[in-house]
Symmetry: C2
Subunit: 697 residues, 2 copies
Amino acid sequence: MNNPRIRRYFPSVLLSVLLAALLILPAAADEGMWLFNRPPKDILQKRYGFTVTPEFMDHLRLASISFGGASGSFISPDGLVLTNHHVGRGAVQNLSTKDRDLMKTGFYARTRAEELKVPGMELRVLHAIEDVTDTVLGAEKPGMTPVEAADARQKVFAALEKETAETSGLRGVVVTLYSGGMYHLYKYKLHGDVRLVFAPEYLAAFFGGDPDNFTYPRYDLDICLFRIYENGQPFKSDHYIRWSAEGVAEGDLVLCSGHPGSTGRLLSTSQLEFLRDTSYPFNIANLTRRQAYMRAYAAKGEEEKRIADRNLFGIENSLKATTGYQSGLLDKTLMERKLREEEALRAEVRKNPELEKEFGSAWDEIAAAEKAYASFFKPLAFFDRANGFYTTYFTIARNLIRLAMEKPKPNADRLREFRDASLPSIERGILSPAPIYDEFEILKLGDSLTQLKEELAGMQEVKWILGDRSPRDVARELVTGTKLKDVEHRKKLMAGGLEAIFQCQDPMIKLALVVDPVSRGLRAKYEKQVEAVETRNGTLIAKAMFALKGTSIPPDATGSLRLSFGAVKGYIENGKKIPFQTTYAGLYEKSAKAGNKDPYELPESFLKKKAAVKMSTPINFVSTADSIGGNSGSPLVNRKGEFVGVLFDGNIQSLPTRFVYEDTVSRSVIVHAQGIIEALLKIYGAKPLVDEILGKK
Amino acid sequence: MNNPRIRRYFPSVLLSVLLAALLILPAAADEGMWLFNRPPKDILQKRYGFTVTPEFMDHLRLASISFGGASGSFISPDGLVLTNHHVGRGAVQNLSTKDRDLMKTGFYARTRAEELKVPGMELRVLHAIEDVTDTVLGAEKPGMTPVEAADARQKVFAALEKETAETSGLRGVVVTLYSGGMYHLYKYKLHGDVRLVFAPEYLAAFFGGDPDNFTYPRYDLDICLFRIYENGQPFKSDHYIRWSAEGVAEGDLVLCSGHPGSTGRLLSTSQLEFLRDTSYPFNIANLTRRQAYMRAYAAKGEEEKRIADRNLFGIENSLKATTGYQSGLLDKTLMERKLREEEALRAEVRKNPELEKEFGSAWDEIAAAEKAYASFFKPLAFFDRANGFYTTYFTIARNLIRLAMEKPKPNADRLREFRDASLPSIERGILSPAPIYDEFEILKLGDSLTQLKEELAGMQEVKWILGDRSPRDVARELVTGTKLKDVEHRKKLMAGGLEAIFQCQDPMIKLALVVDPVSRGLRAKYEKQVEAVETRNGTLIAKAMFALKGTSIPPDATGSLRLSFGAVKGYIENGKKIPFQTTYAGLYEKSAKAGNKDPYELPESFLKKKAAVKMSTPINFVSTADSIGGNSGSPLVNRKGEFVGVLFDGNIQSLPTRFVYEDTVSRSVIVHAQGIIEALLKIYGAKPLVDEILGKK
């Protein structure tokens, strides 16, 4: 417990309370997405007899890759990167054309010259972590309102990120942990030259389709290989994960390094209720709607299917995930447990007048903020979060205008996503040459404008944008009228700044301009009336927890790099034993049973090379290792730090672990290392790639 | 010739040219609105045997008052200020209500306690002038584009104005002279506590009405008296103009100190053509339209007339003035003379290769800029200059949003009217409690939106604002819906900054927000493609003139304090001699002839007190002293520096002097000092006021 912040906030009078409570409620079983600079040494030692060394953690960290919302790892000294096919999917689709559908055909670059540069892709490697809790919390002065404190923190964030860029050339990002109880500065190296090396056919990668998504047993070759280049050459590094020669056995310890996006295990119950009653119902309805019209669009023909699939996978994935999370919140047992735990903590706080004085009101203040939040959630979602303007063109237009508005401001005064550290990504995004399909965009925008009209017809901006016209006509006019299709045009607007934006007659830019003030107003309202209050009081609750339980509880996921661990382990479902791994035999059998029909259709290559495949080779396996959305593509390593698989899913029972971890039936689903080699070698004839992976050259 | 800037730009090789040309084209006759720090000493000495001393100029400057677009002067040591009734008109109207129409009844505060504080009025006195030409031009670096140079100058302006505020507490304003050939920093003291002391009835002040406006002979008591207070006490100063005990005789020299707004005598012919072909036709049509509907509104009843008259006077005055200016430009003789003069100057320049190289292209570049200007003049006029949104509420809304947007920027980066030095005035304007009448505002806004639709229906913003709805319905909704009527509401929005603006649901604020981006775009286009080019090349032309003629030519009027001079002198019109002055006898005669009917109706007081009035007392007189709009309220003084009258008009022949001065028939029209005393004493019984003016107490 060498965190000086805790010492600062908890005078010795509290130490007895702290020590007395230290062993209450420790992290359960294999729970936790742990910080790389605070790995669960004791638990790993105790439960698995595994000793974590700093060298082990450093190497794993430097071999791990952030895909921005997903994960990956280096698997060769020549910059070869492994992730999931569904993570690389956008790249594969953007490299596809009407006549070259890589989703359908798969892709394999037999030589480096054949590797395809991915437009707009940027990968990040975490080079260092620094605890900046004191610096950040030191900026908050006594008597500051939550908003003033938030502003003060934002300024420190901006300064730290700027300093990181200037002193190291790395991209600094301050990560807020424990709702503001702890702040770490993450320093990333950015890689902007990424090329596609290998992708299986979509049918192999997503065997079972949406029906089997979030289920187990599974049989998916959900992998995709990229290579990072630097100065036109493959990027060289010793920090890559060596391939395991052995498989995994039931009970084996596996460690998972990835970027879990978000969990809500430490949220207060009023926040969970907000999700359950306001946010999730909106998202589920919204996603359902999008799924329906995109499926209808996809049914029109091959090309339409190819185009719709670019969005449809993500939508169906989110829909299934959100429905799963919501099932947890709708589960009375879970919510009652949450209420009970919260009440227990509050009771502990109440027992001590000093704790009560400092932390006692935190829960009620959050509850009041959630109530306010619900009152303007819809306009916020439609305007600032752009659900009313669902088209890539709007994203580009808004980023163009906001970039022009924010860039001239001092770094610390900008909208946070336009701080210096993020500008290269924003600019790369604006200039991405990824294809956009107008008919599809009209469909998306038309439906979202329809929804906007249904929900918020009374707002002045909605009246302006739609008047008495059909939302679909407005959408068509906007999409066909915009010149943002032309990357050169975007470049010119970006270079011309606000003046060019204001003089530009592009209808999508004009839309973004008319939407901006009200969006910013709603966002400011959210940040001040909700977020700042959640942070301030979340910090207080975290402090109360630290006081009562120490920091033995891992923080919630925040999209930053984390270590989780667990056992390779099957489970019992409806009284039936689900084995820990599946094999190629199972894959072929399942396909045959379904008459090789969608969603169990195998690609040509799998059918043609069936005879060559060793049927007992494992293809997927499961583990109790904690994971959530964002962990897709995470490498799994064994005790020796060797690659044993790549995480690509969780079973349906794992979804409520967003709020409460459990390991009787909840599992992470992983592509088996041996299954990968088998496919590459026997089905795809990718011997040079296998040689590189296995270090045979 | 001690201007170092000229020495710097004109190496000795040019001196011979300069000396040779020095006597070509000096200022003609009594021409010129001269700078207070460069008075026409030689001319006054030569033509009138009058010696200008620094003390004379300093005293006159400190006794002169800027009314922001008009003029006035101190006439007592106790802060008593004299100007025209039509200058004080807005104040008189704002102090009127349905039941107390001061326009009709006139006003006289018999005691200081009765003096009425004027909402939002701010007067300025010029305390110092500094030549900053070197500093400003020093900021322009070789190779800068016109736009970069303009930006560089703006930054220097902002810095000088800021420095003035910080070092002296005065408001600094950099005045651009000779189209950028010279820059002076004017330092003003501001007076915000101004009270109404005396105003005659509208019928006496504006006898003859619009038909007699810009004509002579005239018989108007166009005066208004205010008093400046400081810390609740009358403002004390020795710098006031003592009243002349004598009248004026034909041929007498008079000097006029005031703020002529704008002349175009040094404009290049392409700029005159732009005014003639684009700007004036638009303004004349626009003003004619406003005049028509306001007259119709005024005809509805007493109260409507009172309300409409607040705007109608200014509109009719501008309409008459602009029509007069335009008559000059439509006069082929005048334009041919302009072309000839310009060609002569260009020929002189062409003769000398060095001059040709430096200045030769200036005229053509301005011509190109005027052509560009004409192409977007209409949207600029309707949007950035707000002709499409003609209501006081829009002015308030726009100032609120722009204040919130500009204030956080560094001073030098703001829209120029939002620089620190101007903020107090802007804020005062926003919070002015002057009454606003909704039905009248609906009429104004409705008509301007109608016009907007007629002219620019294709613009996206127009479609948004109007859709398929009637402009008048939209206007009604906006005016009745806005809460900007409430000064407290404005105060709250002003304090809340951009966030409050963005969260505010006020329809007028939303209108101003949607109009702002395109307005700013057009303005930037104007500033860069027109103004910067005009300035850059206007500077070059000025330099060419300096080189060929020295600085014997006075600069064009720019709204800053100037000295003009001339003789008291009648003229011949249509073969008939027009005497230099009119008398009360003439006034009563004219009224009687018209059956005392509008516009020659005299107020009750004049009729009642007729017997007391000495009929031979002069009431108005004319002089050749150069003047133009903005000179209204200027004091006229004799050789002793004593007050002999207050300028209130020019005859119709004076209007084309905007472009070419002449003094055979063009005259300034002045209320005679003796006529003022006669009225105050005999008609209004304002003996205490007369005693104060004549220094009898």
